[in-house]
Assembly symmetry: none
Homo-oligomer: 213 residues x 4
DNA sequence: AATGAATGAGTTTTCATTCAT
DNA sequence: AATGAATGAAAACTCATTCAT
């Protein structure tokens, strides 16, 4: 499994050190509250060095997104590999989604909160990597529909955003929650997927979707 | 039905004019891009006048939230009044949610995008009005569970956030989408609610929940 | 003896209430820190009312100076009346000066500190009342010189400023001092006057100036 | 002798250029009237550069005080070095005091007027350097008392402030005076010191203090 | 490649003062 | 005379970014 968050060490390439420092600083101080010099200090480079690797502060944020999504996609595909059943694939998707949050809390803060502070990310940027991530959901739905396991009248495009929205809102609340116990991510994952799969299941055919016989 | 967005006129109370002007300016330029003087000009008041009614720029944003949520809650309760069936109540909730978005696009932009730019709103503020709004969902679920119509093993607290997340993500995408046709909100509303209700329905009893016979 | 500081009461004329309120507010918050609305609230008048009686905030400060100096001059002349001996007159002057400070600490703060924050008072204003006050010193010196009690080679104009400076600096330090005990004003008054009179005494004649025989 | 005021040149270190420019701008426009951009323009640096060397505008003022007092103390000690007689030491003190005023009129304006506009300088700051400066007076008095030349019943602490007050008031009036001829500083210095020394002289002993035989 | 000193644009907020009532 | 809501001018300061070394 890919590392998603690397260990900071002066041995590493400066670019990596800057990315890792940024994640921590953005998580701690917020995107706007983070100063370039904070990042530079944590990465043990000069302020100007950051501009050798990134166009500007927002570019650092977007590069975090790009590079960490790359790793996340690799993790996700590795996890889903070999799982056929749509219900199980969706379960694995949700479990992976939440596990990444839990394992990388600083990155989770950046993805769930700070990234959305970026005017550019929100309005101009085309987050292809996020779309690839969500495409996984759309394809699970499509394949379920093709095998007849899932209702054909649902628009996989809309369902994709709905499922992502459900997982994402729970993620945000988990990140923001003071007492995280309230948001039991494991339970949330299984309940959300059960509800969605239950709701998408094709009742007119006999196959038992989403339930072990 | 309450107005949600008032008509700007020089007759109105200055505070109302400032609120209405802010919604438009925030929607157009974003929270950070909006200058107090932009709002003042549009509201036809002096810059300083804004500070007679609001503590600072962020306070304007939070007051928009408080006051418009008040109106939205009134609209919502009026709409749900008299509807008993959990499925129908949820349908009405989602339809109202999306209708408000469509009818008040500037306010939608502020709620879906700009409000979340506020550090205070996200981290410190306790958005009681939003919680009241979501509590409506939680209660529909709880009541459905009490009548046996909905599965008892679901946590209404988690389900509430999941349903909200699904509606909210579709709202955001609708707001951000250049080609809004892609997001047919009516279709989205009914599909999301069907899936959720289908998934939450109690299969072990005979009542036909969420489906007309 | 004149009151120097009046008692605030709603019975009084508004102008007097504003003057008295200003002294307290200026003493507490400083001239620049004092807001017109603070003064208005304490004087129990509307903000705008202040501008019926004073041109602007600085005018309030200068009017405090003018009017309180008027009262102080009256007190001073009453005290010196009947005292002939230059040494005794100077002693009475210093004692009165310090007694006024002690009896009117808010006014003392305004005179010793806040008044000197006023650009206009310092650079443009001609504080005739202060000059009248100091003229008392100059005349004591002149008369002492005429009777031969004091050295004729001293410039009464310079001596006046020197004596005032000495008293004034002790006053400022007394006002600013946290531990006021350090500055025993009575002792300061008598020592300063003794030194000055001793220093100004005409040693070449036989009259014992500044000492009781 | 130290320079007290340096010559501005683009060769100098930026910090020095800012200090020198500030003295001139503060003297000309007053502390509050001086804009950071005025100082920056005169120092030929960018506005922001000032904040690399100073915390804020008030810090610039306080640093002027600290650094120029350092130089003044050096000048003073050099001047007093080798002078034993209390009368002569005090004469040298006063002469140096007034000479510095005359030689550095902009700095004189800052010290006599602008510095006292600073709320912090007046109320919170502990001007150790000024106290060191005044301590020189206190020690002259103490030593004079120890040798029996000066009256033992005077409190050197009070006398120090009185002498400083006298010199300071004459300084202020000289700085503020339109027609400075009125304030002949040389004459003022000698008269003030003569009066003080005369007044402090111990008449009960036979030594001729402060007078050449 | 790396540095870090220097730059300078850009905006909220306060509050003395005004004036319609 | 009195009010107090409304006005609007004015400037310190931050920090992302640059570029000479």
């Amino acid at each position: 499994m890919a590392s998603v968050e690397s260990q900071s060490s002066s041995k590493q390439h400066k670019r990596t050190r800057i990315i890792d420092a940024s994640i921590e600083v953005f998580a701690e101080k917020g995107f706007r509250g983070a100063r370039i010099s904070d990042i530079a200090r944590k990465a043990e480079v000069a302020d100007g060095t950051i501009y050798l690797y990134f166009r500007n502060k927002e570019d650092v944020l977007l590069c975090i997104f790009e590079e960490k999504m790359e790793e996340i996609l690799a993790v996700l595909h590795a996890r889903l590999d070999g799982i056929e059943d749509p219900f199980e694939r969706l379960q694995a998707f949700a479990a992976t989604h939440f596990q990444l949050l839990r394992d990388h809390p600083a990155l989770a803060q950046v993805f769930q909160v700070e990234l959305r502070q970026s005017h550019r990310f929100l309005r101009e940027y085309r987050p292809e990597k996020l779309w690839q991530y969500l495409q996984v959901i759309e394809e699970i739905v499509r394949e379920g529909q093709e095998t007849g396991a899932l209702r054909a009248d649902l628009d996989p495009f809309l369902v994709k955003w709905a499922i992502f929205g459900a997982l994402d809102e729970l993620s945000i609340q988990w990140v923001l929650a003071r007492k995280r116990e309230r948001f039991n991510l494991d339970r949330a994952a299984s309940q959300v997927v059960e509800v969605f799969v239950g709701g998408m299941a094709n009742r007119s055919n006999t196959s038992k979707v989403g339930r072990k016989p």
